[in-house]
């Protein structure tokens, strides 16, 4: 009996030992196919994938920004049934709404900035004068431009690194900064892109970086440097966020939300009225049976679906830097200098690129007066109204309109248009900032919740 009992307990000891030993010997190891460990990226051969990842992360979020800011700025009308687009259509956008957009731009910025730090340390990688280095700097710079143009405030924290592993580790947590901080951050990054791109003979990267510099100098109110950089970019130049039907992640959401679904419509917008037939703002009237659309209405069942055709396929890239915008930057500088003729020349140079007739102003520089239909005045021929309208149409659905409205303190921000419902009296604003109107996306709720430097009482809000 004793022997049996002893054997019984020995069996128990074996079971326990088996389980414990199993833990040490790898019995419980995670099978992890498809994922890449952080340290495995530290190879020269992997740099191309790292930089392609920067491009991919940029594109993966930028289309959603362009889609959403188009609704928030009345470039286009939200005609869908998404809970969120219903809010955006009414100008409602709060810190919780900002979560995904904030994360998108922070990731695009961080993968490029942190990637550059990693690339500098990779043994065997020729950092200087390498086209991959130039591309990485370009994406870092353009991500900061995107950040500054679309958010009321910016925050930069020191990046998580292998030494600072996040949970439990301390990072240098950022503080709230004005949007200009993003533009300032972009300048050296884009200059580095020009330097390395030039050394690598990558003209496209150099042009894109110069165009990006022109954009950020506009943001900084530095007309001289904006003009200097814009003038070096050819009118027919385009650098775009890449989209593709190669994989779902690479597809453009704007295509999906307009062709795959009916979530936004050009109906009753400037593009849908004044812009009819304009090659910069192509659309199809789906209520016309000949259009062969699945449905004549938007997903809300009532808004006529004017389906955008600027991005008619999944593969259509979204421009980030265009020579035609550079001409409009030059035109804006001219207007600021009181040079109406010079401004009209630049505007018409851009129009000519699209095969459009030259415009003739009414001889006045005027000011931006705005219009009911979609922001820019549809018929006024004063210099500023023409520029407003031309930027609206030239940069249509490229994620730029909200920024123009902010920097011009646009009259359309007062609300009450056809597209925004009459009950809404304010556009997407960062109301809590007080003072002059701040138009754009607020600091995200996610940042508010975990970054102790952010004053959640005054910087984070819900609507």
């Amino acid at each position: 009996m004793k022997t049996i009992k002893n054997r019984f307990f020995m069996l128990g000891a074996l079971v326990g030992a088996f389980a414990v030993t199993g833990c040490d010997e790898g019995l419980f190891d995670v099978k992890n196919p498809g994922r890449i460990l952080d340290e495995d990226l530290n190879t020269a051969a992997g740099v191309a994938s790292l930089v392609t990842g920067m491009s991919s992360d940029f594109s993966a979020s930028y289309d959603n920004l362009a889609f959403t800011t188009a609704i928030l700025s009345d470039e286009i009308v939200g005609s869908g049934s998404y809970f969120s687009t219903g809010r955006y259509r009414r100008g409602l956008f709060d810190s919780e709404d900002a979560n995904g957009f904030w994360a998108g731009v922070q990731r695009a910025r961080w993968v490029a900035e942190a990637g550059l730090l990693r690339m500098k340390e990779i043994e065997g990688y020729q950092f200087d004068g390498n086209i991959q280095t130039a591309r990485a700097y370009l994406f870092a710079g353009l991500a900061n431009r995107w950040f500054g143009e679309n958010f009321c405030k910016t925050v930069f924290s020191a990046p998580y690194t292998e030494e600072v592993p996040g949970p439990g580790g301390e990072i240098d947590t950022g503080v709230e900064m004005d949007r200009e901080a993003a533009f300032e951050r972009a300048v050296p990054l884009l200059e580095a892109a020009i330097q390395h791109g030039g050394a690598a003979g990558a003209t496209d990267i150099v042009n894109a970086a110069r165009g990006g510099l022109a954009q950020v100098y506009v943001g900084l109110g530095d007309a001289t440097n904006a003009l200097a950089n814009a003038s070096m970019v050819p009118t027919d130049f385009v650098f775009a966020a890449a989209y593709s039907s190669n994989s779902g992640r690479e597809e453009s959401i704007i295509w999906n939300e307009t062709h795959g679904r009916h979530e936004i419509s050009a109906w009753m917008t400037l593009a849908g009225t004044y812009g009819a037939g304009d090659p910069r703002t192509p659309w199809t009237d789906c209520s016309d049976e000949a259009s062969n659309c699945p449905s004549g209405n938007g997903a809300d069942g009532q808004t006529i679906h004017y389906r955008q055709e600027k991005y008619p396929t999944r593969d259509d890239d979204i421009p980030l830097v265009k020579g035609t915008e550079m001409r409009l930057i030059e035109a804006e500088a001219a207007l600021n200098n009181g040079d109406l003729a010079g401004a009209m020349a630049k505007i018409n140079e851009a129009r000519g690129h699209y095969g459009l007739d030259a415009l003739e102003s009414d001889g006045t520089i005027g000011s931006i007066t705005g219009g009911e239909g979609g922001g820019a005045h549809p018929t006024s021929m004063s210099g500023w109204d023409i520029l407003d309208r031309e930027r609206h149409l030239t940069l249509w659905l490229e994620g730029r309109r909200l920024w123009d409205m902010q920097r011009w303190d646009h009259p359309h921000l007062n609300g009450g248009g056809v597209v925004y419902e009459a009950t809404v009296d304010r556009r997407v604003t960062c109301d809590v900032l007080g003072g002059p109107r701040h138009i754009g996306m607020p600091i995200a709720l996610d940042e508010c919740q975990v970054n102790e430097n952010i004053d959640t009482q005054t910087r984070c809000f819900s609507k």
Binding site: L11, G16, V20, S56, G168, A422
Partner: protein, 1013 residues
């Protein structure tokens, strides 16, 4: 122990041959056993007269026993002459005894009738204990559902069995498409981030407990529970909280359900054939106040007008694609055929069954544009089971249990889906289809499940008091999903196709040994054991877009293709020790410890240990206890269990992506946390159970308190640091508490009439105590996990729009306000009575998971032949958003908004109150306005069965029964959406709930015939 309803009637015709055999045998053996006799008879279910196969019949004082054969017959031989107490025991049934006088060479006929008992102290329980334990020894609550309880009820799935019969369990039906899985939860939610679904074991083998591939188009998924043939089930045991599930370790915090299938017993083959024929249908849809008779266009899609709507209703115009019947609904036909046989010899037995069935859904899918009948919504299934047992030695039992199931489900696009049928039908003319909704049904959605579960149970009893049990098994499920929009499909004109194929494999290796002895006058059962579970998932998901032309397709028919692969392995395991000390067979103390390892723990985390302790005190066995009261057991339990983090949550990783038109790239995937461990649920439970009035009243009560510490919370990692996304951290604290009580009363018990009435009530109130640095976590559709808030005047004094209250109403400024897990929070109008535009404030309304469930059931049997079984169930305390009502109100097509819509149309918007506008004005209505209490009571099932008299049936048949059954017959609710139980995401294992254009659960009627031969 009680002596109940023992019949000493003369031998019945059916057992005469057995008696004769016994007599002959006794005569042959007379020289050797001159002073012995035999006892023989049949063990039957007292309620329905059906034989109980496998019941243990014994004379304990003689250490003499035998198992009743496959038709309930037993034969005790060589019984010494004299008076003996014969005892009958069977798991889930009350023990009965009879005094039998045996004469030398005599043959006594002694039939027994046993009753299924929810509470039987001598009944054996194997779930949550190291080995089989008598209920009197167990300190936690256990629910047992025996087959006789549901054999006469209209059940077609395990969910049907458990619904209304599991105290503390919530089984939500979710949707009305045939094949849609249900949602199971025990004692509500205790995890913020991970599954709250209980673990499931089938004959000792752990099986997949969660839904399979989710259809984004049908917004449903099948549940592997439904592949199990209810007719194969002998009993189900349910344990609910960490106090009971400790020995199951990590992942068991949501409870454990163990299903036992039927086993073979000795005897000639005993066959059973059941044939079911029935229908499914759906009544009127939509708010009762709707004066339009079309049922939101679903019941009638060809409406051309009536007295209220001359010439038709502009909101719901006649649909040119409406089926010829004039309705999108039809009566679906169901049929199934189940054949089983059980038998065996002394050392070998078997149970084999086969079932084929098909169920038609309630959608009329009509004909496509080419006049070809579209596939109907419904499912076809078949099951095979073989359970074999043999005893190669006196001390060794070996059992093999194997089943295979195949199920083919055809879905219809539904739910939160632009191409969903209900979404487009309910929205009338304001939809995606230009009100030709039949076009949607050209989409094909098919789901195919194949499932194989096989296990071996080995029980070795080398000596009295020692037992070793080894379970090893595999649960293998293959799920294929196909979704295709044909070329020319109205919404995606070039068409597309998706295929998703997953294989899930779970391996179980489970050993437990126990040693029973005496220590210092105390009984002792020491057990130890260990388990290893290996969970492997693999699969591919492919897409093909843009076909070149018509015809049957494969993925590569698309001009654009894309594929994904899923491949993961999780291994978990642990070992345990348990000691049960007993004093006087009335007081028991159990102490146990479980130690676990898991693939998903951080590399620096190590092992996790879970202790348990419980006591059981059968106070009614004490001398001081009033005689005649009956039985009363007091019990209390404490224990811990856990939930493991996700497979890769602990490691820092990057994911492969494509960019720049198909070039390889990487993107941040997971930040990683080397100290990550499981969340830990600790539970205290105390209660009592018993019976009184000669066992005619059975009762049970317990209070439980659970707290989940180190709760795994997805903490956002400062986005401005760049590595965006969440990383799980062990920082949260969630509590959950509730009461559970049931009473079962045998009102009448005679040969003429047995009438039982039962009622149960269970509450589960979860509360978020702490979320670390987070204020809240959105979990979907304005459902939040909300950390406690300090009460403010604004919160306290908010307007109560509909009089149903809100969280924090009337709170004292400065005190903490707590929220359930999860809570619904959104905009509610603050000036409802003002004639003005609405002003809104965010208010949290309440839990979106029911906080209490109750059931009422009754069974009435006349003459052991005619049985009426009724089960009703109610749930409440929860809120549900009607996405249907909100989205329709936004489109001015919700019936209860007609007056407001008319006022707006007439230009009288400025005469409306803010409350009216907040609900029905399309420009300002908010989701929160359409979120309402969703309390309901449903008549889950009614069954009338009749066991035919023996003389009515051919001689070779042992019995025959006819049943008429109805399911989901009536709903009582004030909820104004489509159905208080509908859920937009099928049986998806998520925290949030909302109703969004889902077909509500249908009702079923089945006529069933069963013959045993």
């Amino acid at each position: 122990m009680s002596v109940t309803r023992v019949s000493r009637a003369v031998a019945r015709t059916a057992i005469r041959p057995l008696i004769a055999a016994a007599v002959v045998l006794a005569a042959v053996q007379a020289p050797a056993h001159a002073q012995t006799g035999t006892i023989t008879g049949v063990v039957r279910n007292a309620t329905n007269g059906q034989p109980i196969a496998g019941a243990q019949v014994s004379i304990p004082e003689l250490n003499l026993g035998i198992q009743a054969n496959n038709v309930g017959r037993y034969l005790l031989q060589n019984v010494p002459a004299g008076t003996h107490t014969v005892q009958v025991r069977f798991i889930g049934y009350g023990t009965v005894t009879a005094e039998v006088e045996v004469s030398a060479d005599g043959a006594v006929v002694q039939d027994f009738e046993v009753r299924s008992e929810t509470i039987s102290l001598e009944g054996l329980v194997v779930t949550g204990t190291a080995g089989a334990a008598r209920r009197r020894e167990i300190g936690n609550s256990v629910t047992q559902i025996n087959s006789d309880v549901f054999e006469s009820a209209p059940v077609s799935s395990v969910a049907d069995i458990m619904q209304g019969r599991t105290l503390g369990g919530t089984v939500l039906t979710n949707g009305g498409q045939v094949g849609a899985g249900s949602t199971f939860k025990l004692r509500g939610n205790n995890s913020v981030s991970f599954s709250n679904v209980p673990l499931v074991y089938l004959d000792g083998v752990r099986v997949r407990e969660r839904g399979l591939i989710h259809s984004d188009e049908a917004n449903q998924q099948t549940n592997p529970f439904d592949d199990i043939n209810p007719a194969d089930i002998e009993r189900i045991e349910v344990i609910k909280g960490a106090a009971a599930t400790t020995l199951y370790g990590t992942e068991a915090a949501g409870g454990v359900i163990q299903i036992f299938t039927k086993r073979g017993v000795a005897g000639a083959p005993a066959w059973s054939l059941t044939v079911d024929q029935g229908i499914n249908n759906l009544g009127h849809i939509g708010p009762a106040a709707d004066v339009n008779p079309t049922g939101l266009g679903l019941n009638n899609c060809d409406f051309t007008g009536d007295a209220n709507f001359s010439g038709g209703d502009s909101q719901f115009p006649a649909d040119p694609s409406c089926p010829a019947s004039g309705s999108w609904l039809k009566t679906g036909r169901t049929q199934s055929y189940n054949l089983s046989v059980r038998g065996g010899a002394e050392r070998m037995n078997y149970f084999v069954s086969a079932k084929w069935g098909e169920q038609g859904g309630v959608f009329d899918t009509g004909f496509d544009s080419d006049g070809i009948k579209r596939p109907e919504q419904g499912q076809e299934s078949w099951n095979l089971r073989g359970n074999f047992a043999f005893a190669p030695a006196e001390d060794l039992d070996v059992r093999f249990n194997t089943f295979y199931a195949h199920r083919n489900v055809t879905w219809v696009p539904d739910g939160n889906n632009a191409e969903g049928l209900l979404l487009n039908v309910f929205r009338g003319g304001r939809d995606y289809t230009n009100d030709e909704d039949g076009k949607l049904l050209d989409m094909d959605i098919t789901n195919i499940n194949d499932r194989f579960t096989s296990g071996m149970n080995l029980i070795w009893t080398p000596m009295e008091g020692m037992q070793h049990r080894l379970n090893a098994g595999i649960d293998w499920t293959r799920n294929e999903y196909f979704e295709e929009r044909p070329w020319g499909y109205f919404y995606v004109q070039l068409g597309n196709r998706e295929t998703d194929e997953r294989t899930y494999r779970k391996l179980t290796l489970d050993y437990a040994g126990s040693w029973t002895s005496e220590i210092l006058g105390l009984s002792s059962r020491f057990s130890l054991g260990g388990q290893l579970y290996n969970d492997f998932i693999t699969g591919t998901n492919g897409f093909g877009d843009d076909f070149a032309g018509p015809g049957e397709k494969v993925l590569q028919s698309g001009a654009i293709t894309e594929a994904f692969e899923v491949n993961s392995t999780v291994t978990s395991g642990g070992f345990f020790f348990e000691e049960v000390l007993g004093a006087g067979d009335r007081f028991f103390l159990t102490l146990g410890l479980r130690v676990d390892g898991h693939s998903a723990f951080g590399k620096d985390f190590g092992l996790q240990s879970y202790p348990k302790a419980s006591f059981s005190y059968v106070v009614s066995d004490e001398a001081f206890f009033p005689e005649g009261f009956g039985m009363l057991k007091l019990r209390g339990a404490f224990g811990s269990s856990g939930k493991a983090p996700g497979l890769f949550d602990a490691a820092r990783t990057w994911a492969s992506v494509a960019g720049d038109n198909g070039r390889p790239g990487v993107t941040p995937d997971n930040l990683g946390n080397p100290t990550l461990g499981p969340e830990r649920s600790t539970e205290y439970e105390a209660g009592f159970e018993g019976s009184t009035l000669n066992d005619r009243v059975a009762f049970e009560y317990q209070y439980f308190y659970q707290s989940t510490s180190d709760a795994l919370i997805p903490v956002t990692q400062i986005p401005s640091g760049g590595f965006v996304g969440d990383q799980f951290e062990n920082v949260g604290l969630v509590s959950n508490r509730g009461h559970e009580v049931f009473v079962n009363v045998n009102l009448l018990s005679s040969d003429a009439l047995i009438w039982d009435v039962g009622a149960g009530l269970a509450t589960a109130n979860s509360r978020v105590e702490d979320l670390g640095v987070l204020d809240n976590i959105p979990v979907g559709w304005r459902n939040y996990v909300q950390a406690p808030l300090e009460c403010t005047e604004e919160l306290s004094n908010g307007a109560d729009f509909d009089g149903n209250g809100f969280i924090g109403q009337g709170c004292t400024p400065g005190e903490l306000v707590y929220f359930p897990l999860p809570a619904f929070c959104h905009d509610r109008v603050q000036n409802p009575d003002e004639v003005a535009a609405p002003r809104y404030a965010t208010q949290c309304l309440g839990s979106t998971t029911p906080t209490h469930t109750y059931n009422l059931n009754t069974t009435m049997t006349l003459g052991q032949r005619l049985t009426l079984d009724v089960v009703g169930e109610g749930m409440g305390g929860h809120w549900l958003s009607s996405g249907t009502a909100y989205q329709n109100a936004r489109r001015s097509v919700w019936p209860t908004c007609r007056d407001v819509n008319q006022a707006i149309s007439d230009g009288r918007r400025d005469q409306l109150t803010a409350g009216e506008r907040a609900l029905c004005d399309p420009s300002v209505t908010r989701y929160g306005m359409w979120t309402q209490p969703a309390d309901f009571f449903k008549l889950r099932s009614v069954s009338l069965s009749y066991r035919l008299p023996q003389e009515w049936i051919p001689g070779r048949f042992r019995s025959a029964t006819l049943r008429l059954q109805g399911r989901n017959l009536l709903t009582f609710t004030d909820y104004e959406g489509v159905d208080p139980e509908a859920f937009e995401d099928g049986s998806a294992d998520v925290l949030f709930r909302q109703e969004y254009y889902n077909l509500p659960p249908f009702r079923s009627f089945v006529l069933s015939a069963r013959v045993d031969f």
